[in-house]
């Protein structure tokens, strides 16, 4: 591994440290006390989920236009990272909800339910990728799902505005919201730090996927050579007709 590849993860790690310090140094919230601090993880996680699925959408669109496998790998990596952070947003939300709301989960809440559905749809996206062996077919099907599934992102975001929810409204952009200055700085620092983590994770995962693909191609060639090119590997989805 070259030294330049270490820059991004080191930067992300330092930023996380600064973000943690900012979260601890932030003021105590008047009603919730210390519980409010979980927003410094919860909000960036949710933001990363939206960003990641946006990149998956972009990767899908670009693959359909350019047919360059790099876009497919970016879409796949981003979706993986997005599923992780969606899960983290759900879990931190539950941890916060128990002391503050008095419940971990509410089946009638539109924000919670739509986020959970988004989590499972993108888990399905990852499952779809594993179920299609042919790279081209896999890239096309994932691109289509990645584009359609993105419709959930605005739904999740605006769920608190469209219907009444237990979850609070939009803190930064909502009409009735107010957030003291003391919280804004640390929140922005953590948003930036988490974004760096996202970029580092996605870059690494994309590179790893490239290595995996290259290895797979190499092995396929090696198998052919071993058999003296006399046979072809068994095909999935029906026998090939070679004249």
């Amino acid at each position: 591994m070259t030294r330049s590849r270490l820059v991004l993860p080191v930067l992300a790690l330092v930023a996380l440290g600064v973000g943690f310090a900012a979260a601890v140094g932030a003021p105590r919230e008047a009603t919730q006390g210390e519980f409010a601090r979980i927003m410094f993880v919860h909000v960036p996680s949710a933001w990363l989920a939206f960003l990641a699925f946006g990149v998956t959408l972009l990767g899908g669109v670009m693959w359909l236009i350019r047919k360059n496998m790099l876009w497919d790998r970016i879409a796949a990596s981003s979706a993986e990272v997005g599923v992780f952070f969606t899960g983290l947003a759900l879990i931190t939300g539950m941890i916060w909800g128990y002391p503050v709301w008095g419940t971990f989960w509410d089946w009638g809440d539109a924000r919670m339910m739509s986020t959970a559905v988004m989590f499972f749809v993108y888990t399905g996206y990852l499952a779809l990728r594993r179920s299609v062996p042919d790279p081209e077919t896999r890239a096309r099907r994932s691109a289509v799902l990645g584009i359609i599934a993105f419709v959930q992102v605005p739904l999740v975001y605006f769920s608190v505005t469209i219907v009444r929810t237990l979850h609070q409204g939009l803190t930064f952009t909502g009409p009735d919201s107010s957030i003291d200055e003391g919280f804004v700085g640390p929140l922005l620092i953590n948003l930036a730090a988490f974004t760096l983590v996202y970029v580092a994770f996605t870059t690494y995962r994309t590179r790893l996927l490239k290595i995996e693909d290259d290895l797979e191609a190499e092995e396929a060639i090696a198998d052919l050579e071993l058999a003296g090119l006399g046979i072809t590997e068994p095909r999935l989805g029906g026998a090939a007709v070679d004249g």
Partner: protein, 140 residues
Amino acid sequence: MPHKSFLIPTIGLVILALGYIVFGGLNDNLVYYLTPAEAVERRVDYADGDRFRLGGFVEVGSVTETTNGVVFTVVDEGVSVDVEHTGSPPQLFRDNIGVVVEGAWAGDVFETDTLIIKHDEEYRSTDGEEPYVPPAESEG
């Protein structure tokens, strides 16, 4: 691209579904809770024992502890409903905080067994204010 024939109707369906949720979806099933005004107005629709959720703010000075719970008043938009809650309320329960209670009418009183706090989108620092000490911490 062979998928065009499938992609376009799919996107159309998704847009229709989205439109339904945004513009036509505000029906009974999707309303998470009723405001006190709605609950009073639709008193005839909910007979005693029909469960629904009621959301509003705890009226200042209305909270009285009882042997098995609390009695208080939920108020919003100038309309109030008296609530009898069975069970201990969450830590953050206090005057003027948003609550969602689940239960049913019993005459003029709303009887509940589920009480959750609806925290608003306001974040206020404790600078220059008396910090809030949760009961569990104040014991030590």
